[in-house]
Subunit: 348 residues, 2 copies
Amino acid sequence: MGGATVQVRTATIRDVADAAGFSVTTVSHVLNDVQGKRIAENTRDRIRRAAAELQYRPNRLAQGLRTQRTHTIGFVSDSIATTPFAGQMILGAQEAAAEVGSLLLLLSSGGDPDLEDRELQALVDRQVDGVVYAAMYHRVVTPPAKLHDLPAVLLDARTAANEFSSVVPDEVGGARAAVEELLSRGHRRIGFCTDAADIPATRARLAGYRQALEVYGVEFDPDLVSTSHGEAAGGFQSASALLSRPDRPTGLFCFTDRIAFGAYQAAAELGLAVPQDVSIIGFDDQELISANLRPGLTTMALPHYAMGRWAVDTLLEQINSGGNLPAVQQLLPCPLVRRASVSSPPRA
Amino acid sequence: MGGATVQVRTATIRDVADAAGFSVTTVSHVLNDVQGKRIAENTRDRIRRAAAELQYRPNRLAQGLRTQRTHTIGFVSDSIATTPFAGQMILGAQEAAAEVGSLLLLLSSGGDPDLEDRELQALVDRQVDGVVYAAMYHRVVTPPAKLHDLPAVLLDARTAANEFSSVVPDEVGGARAAVEELLSRGHRRIGFCTDAADIPATRARLAGYRQALEVYGVEFDPDLVSTSHGEAAGGFQSASALLSRPDRPTGLFCFTDRIAFGAYQAAAELGLAVPQDVSIIGFDDQELISANLRPGLTTMALPHYAMGRWAVDTLLEQINSGGNLPAVQQLLPCPLVRRASVSSPPRA
DNA sequence: ATGAAAGCGCTAACAC
DNA sequence: GTGTTAGCGCTTTCAT
């Protein structure tokens, strides 16, 4: 059979009190290390011993009911199944929570506002100490109104008015670093294979691309940015177009690793070797792609784990401060992950 | 600022009772639809009205303390960040839980037995109704002893002795279906690029491979199975070796999509087109790879979502039955996902 | 047909 | 130094 037939009655604070021969008050004081109580060392010992003996564990429900603190944090996201990123955010959040003895109550709404509302209510019903509201890709969101009624921080998302503390990747900085990686190797004609979606990442990464060019005194050439729709197929098209030009770029900055995946395919089709004939740099560090491509893809990692931690840490501060801290908007850096897809440009 | 400054005091059952002019007992009876109580329709109405008016929501903590049922399920896994599969299992579990008003308390142990123990204890402290113990790839596990003390089911894992109910993919059936997909198109020399790890999946998929051959009366040729270590690089090696043979196979069954990824690279290197010169079929349906490869990879999907649901449904049954159901070991089918990497073999 | 009261396990104000 | 007691918000037995 699976699991217990007999739910072993676990020891309560009463049991400990009885066993130790003191009142529950004293037990509570001792076990919680309440300051300013003078309790005999000997008493402390006996109580601690009894507690250990009985394998006493405080009932968190009862505790929460009494203290209005459940040490439970709600984590709601628009989607969780579709990207491997989710796991890293959750892990970061969970580990930060664990450090203060808190646990994560996980919920995914699939983007349905009604469901989102009900889920948030379910969290409130369980008296969560606060909520992390996460998006699976950097977005501007409008969370349910209820979110204003309790401590909350936004993860990989922000609202138009920035009423909440939030953390998102430094897309501009990441893109600039990516393009500078190419520039510093000597590339001067650098294509940008981007996505058609109008989201923070497309705008910011384009801005970063332009900034990097400017730093190196390279003029921006709009013909070198090619837009397509998402996935590898789009990247294949964009890159094919760019690499078929007579004055083809020697380096390609791809909006995502998926697009870079397509760019590899385009290069192969055209008989161009990576990185000898064309250097390619991606964005996202989707290891399933970046580490398995041949040669390995140099790319910018998204700081999902760090963002998850930041969100919870910040939420905790907010909770502990009684909730009147100013909202802060945090940018976290995107680290460069060097593999083997970038080299010097071919000698002309 | 983020979140509430003022924690709005929410209405309690007392408030509803007062507002409606009845006792809390009656309110509880009405709101919980307790059977066998004769309460005037009119009374019911007034109470329901008052509850709605005050936006009353029962405090789940108090409820749980009293009823010993928290409508909370623990979900502990050995890892969550490293695979995109985690999300699907969690989603399946979460949705099944939501259907009965339960929520998931998520925890990932990183495989550390000590941590695992503490995490499980944290769940017990919070009085979870039961626990789903998940592995991120099909494994034989030895969960902490504590797991025996409460309702639990294993997800994508089982123990050596099968003491718990568990659900894992039907690896044998999946592998057989994959190889039959090749056989049915006319392939007779089919290579198997597998992994060196000694885990349930390697053994089972090899068995499925052999079963399929047998069904079609094709003799098993050990030279056609090539073992390597994991990732794409291993697949590249295996496939290169197999495809360089004078009597090279016309079809390749790859242990994972990552290995298939490497096989694509090997085929390209050898100037072999997929699927015209060699058909390739994978396993796992890692969409980041399978959907982005060119041509799209035909592969066997792993039933993560369904397994997640099954685990929670089964756990719920166990909880509701008071916990003396026999343990059941469930196999869930791996659906074939057809894309474009399989065709008839080339005419010799 | 409705209500009083006990109690789930804990903390904390207060008393001694 | 230690103990009594009220109460967090709810369900449920037992009265009436």
